[in-house]
Symmetry: C2
Subunit: 237 residues, 2 copies
């Protein structure tokens, strides 16, 4: 048969994003350019960078000025968890643990940084709503960013905004091939989808969007907030 | 054009795995059954469960007997980092941080658990070597397991063994679309590939292997050990 269970398409978008741009319309134009027709149950993964730019979430920060950076982090409402030289590991207002509250100097004009969207779940819902209205395809949308992790080298893409799907798949009520109940398995599929998308995005390639077809998502009103472990349940904060 | 950049194939394998089974040969037979022909640069992702069984890495553990479990964890050479009720977060001899040293009662006969392979990188090299010899396809191999994370709900698949590729992609020397050097971006692509594979494996589906085609891997003698952040560099141990 040799038909892939899952297919991943990269969607290149030419040109910069500015405050007020309609991200969904830019995605649709780019999908048309590369010949990707959105279908029901496709997952459209969008790097937060273009969303942040379209939402005007930028700040001034001279390169390497850690004092200004720390001021921006504080203004963003994030708390500092750990410091190591210039590295500041923070917990954002959304509850995400990442370096520098997610502020990022890459792929933005020198002297500026992007901030995370104020409410990435809302941004995802808004993009999904527009994509669905125009194409009539009932897609899901994930907004992603690249975070480091505890204990493991390297960063991976994770979901910071979700719309149109549940962020996890719960195997708790299912039995395995021996009939044993799978008690603790709750897969963060939104993060796995974000990681999958990263591979076609690269970091310097002008591909801010990926369309993933065939993933076993569960449709519903999920959010990325559900991926945030509450502080009082976390053993490593 | 509409040609996916990345394609993911699930490879179902019928029947149980026993000590001494040749995992690579079972994978090849199953690939033939489902019509997946391995090609150069394909990434073959293998759940550690079948590797552990083939390597005889099993232990007796009555269900819910945490004393026995803790004894097994200690015998495995893992250290305890945190406890919360029956949950034990450990650091394995390999350096992986995960629950219960990776011992797992799912998809194994009742009363037994699987242990992690002693040297998953070596297991990956051995599978890769056999796959390559038989098919002449220069594939990479990843052995994966499902781990929880700090700060985020839900588990994801990560790489615990790697062969034939580098586990990370380093963007440090590249410039972004504004010419800014990407200083800290080092993507753990082996973990993203493991997460991608999880989506076609499921937990109860009898699909222990995924073949991923089109991923931007860098060929080389990489290991999953490189994904382990040394304890003295970790801010959250």
């Amino acid at each position: 048969m040799n038909i892939p269970a899952i297919s991943v398409f990269g969607v290149r978008i030419e040109g910069e994003f500015f405050k007020g741009d309609n991200v969904a319309d830019r995605i649709l134009a780019a999908c048309a350019d590369v010949g990707v027709d959105l279908r029901d149950d496709d997952v459209v993964v969008v790097t937060h960078k273009i969303v942040s730019k379209a939402e005007g979430r930028l700040a001034e920060m001279p390169e390497g000025d850690w004092e200004v950076r720390d001021a921006v982090i504080t203004r963003e409402g994030a708390t500092f968890l750990r410091r190591n030289g210039p590295i500041a590991i923070t917990r954002t207002r959304h509850g995400f643990v990442c370096a520098s509250a997610g502020i990022d100097a890459s792929n933005v004009e020198p002297g500026k940084v992007t901030l995370l969207p104020l409410d990435p779940d809302r941004s995802a819902r808004s993009i999904r709503s527009r994509l669905k209205r125009v194409t009539e395809a009932d897609v899901a949308v994930i907004i992603c960013d690249t975070f480091g992790r505890a204990w493991r080298n390297g960063q991976t893409n994770v979901a910071i905004g979700v719309a149109g799907m549940l962020p996890t798949i719960n195997y708790r009520d299912r039995t395995d091939s021996f009939g044993t109940l799978l008690k603790v398995t709750n897969i963060a599929i939104a993060d796995e989808l974000a990681g999958t998308a990263e591979m076609v995005m690269g970091k310097a390639l002008g591909v801010p969007v990926a369309v993933i077809r065939g993933a076993p998502i569960t449709r519903g009103r999920g959010t990325a907030k559900e991926l945030v472990r509450p502080a009082h349940e976390d053993l490593f904060l």
